[in-house]
Amino acid sequence: MLCDLNVPFPTEISSSSINQLERVLITLIELKYTHVAINKQLTPNMYQNQSAGGQKNKNGNTNQSNKSEYDLKDDLNKFFECFHKLVQKFGASLKLFARCTVEVNEPSKIGGVFIAMNGGIQNANGVTNKFDLISVLPLSEKGLIYLTSNSKGDVDILTFDYSNYFNGFHLKHKTMNSLAKKGIKIELVYSPLFCSSQQAIKFIANSKQVIRTCRNGTNSVLVSSGATSNLHVRNKLGVHTMLKFLGLKSHIYSRMMNENPGLALLNGRLRLKSYQQVVTSGSDVVNGVSGIENEREVNGFAVRSSNKRTRDELETDKTADGEDINHKKLK
């Protein structure tokens, strides 16, 4: 399992931009990636004064404000339409996930965007599409503080813009550790390193700052490409080399590539398919295998019992055979 949880979706949908996205996916297949998330980024202008979930106002009419300029719901439906086409094309060799990144500048203007994203986007046919992963990109210190104080399990990943310096805010151990305790993963996006020398310099400065504040990022940092071009992706060995040059040890960077992205995906899957991230169904939650064993219903929830057999079951086996199994072995 090799994950790349950040392949940006183009801001404007056209044949050339989709072509570019598909070329990135093709190169990722060549480099042996198996799990890839397509990332739809929402800027503050996109979601402010909008109703993404088609909520109704007090008069019972659908909110039509600013529809002439930009319609978020329509845009997200187009994203899911393209996403399903990509799943049909690349589903045989890649497991694709839908991810939404919300840029947060002013917390007071967020509104219900996280509730809307978690609730799903309903299209014209009445089908509700949900994002597998939801991440936050703070543009100011206020945005970061909002995440530490107010998020209630509705965010999986915290990401930054590594191609620009963190203007106006300074990362602290306390903030990043409180996020790590909540299970939110912090993302390193490595594509600026391969873009231009100016972006590479900024990437190295920013990523060193993130790694320092996350105490080397053993449990909390994951790595993804964020590549808009197929020349900016690297294989596992290439990413390991890059992380080694950033001063990390081998057991840490291998965890950043394998386990932490898997945990982020698990967190996202549990948010969608569980009751308070505790009770869920299915044997393989990350891969979404539908085979359910030993499932039973308790108070309206699907509960899967473990493979350990109870003492009563073992006793019934004994009585059915008439002899103890251990006794048979002795004979």
């Binding site: 072509n19 690349f90 020349l231 060995l237 390991h240 080399t241 081998s250």
Partner: protein, 168 residues
């Protein structure tokens, strides 16, 4: 007696498809993944030979790590093998300083007249024998994938071995 220890790197030059090439594939084949995947593996032009490759790697070492990096990276540096037809090569470096070369190969985007390429380091090993065995098994798997039916192609591609070693 103390041996001089070195590291050998197996690398391949990948050619990610350009927009025109990719469009041509998808239009001609009504979107089939195989030719687009195979597009990454091309014959390297004959003007990229061993001498050009070594020159470009040293130039990039100088660019990314300066005189210090060039000095460290080029101790015991040797291009053992390079094939234009398979775009595959083997490099030898010092055990202590091979990371500089590895990182340089990662960062390179052009070799001489060739532009927009990825130099993909597949495996790093302590002996050239193990590396050759790995390269042979890898190319065997690729040939098997090519000769099989289209339905099994993607499954066969995924079975092509990768370096399992986590430490570099």
């Amino acid at each position: 007696m103390v041996r001089f220890k070195s590291r050998y790197m197996l690398f391949e030059i990948l050619y990610p498809p350009t927009a025109e090439e990719y469009t041509a594939f998808t239009e001609a084949n009504n979107f089939v993944l195989e030719p687009a995947l195979l597009q990454h593996h091309k014959v390297t032009p004959s003007d990229v030979n061993n001498r050009v490759l070594v020159y470009e790697i040293k130039k990039s070492l100088q660019h990314f790590f300066g005189d210090y990096g060039l000095g460290r990276g080029t101790s015991m540096f040797q291009l053992k093998y390079f094939s234009n037809s398979t775009s595959t090569g083997i490099l030898r470096c010092s055990k202590d300083d091979y990371e500089y070369v590895l990182m340089t190969l990662n960062m390179m985007k052009k070799i001489g007249t060739l532009e927009n390429v990825i130099i993909n380091v597949v495996k790093v090993s302590g002996t050239i024998k193990k590396l050759e065995e790995f390269a042979i098994s890898r190319s065997d798997e690729l040939m098997r994938a090519l000769n099989q039916d289209k339905k099994d192609f993607l499954q066969s591609m995924s079975s092509i071995p990768v370096d399992k070693n986590e430490d570099i």
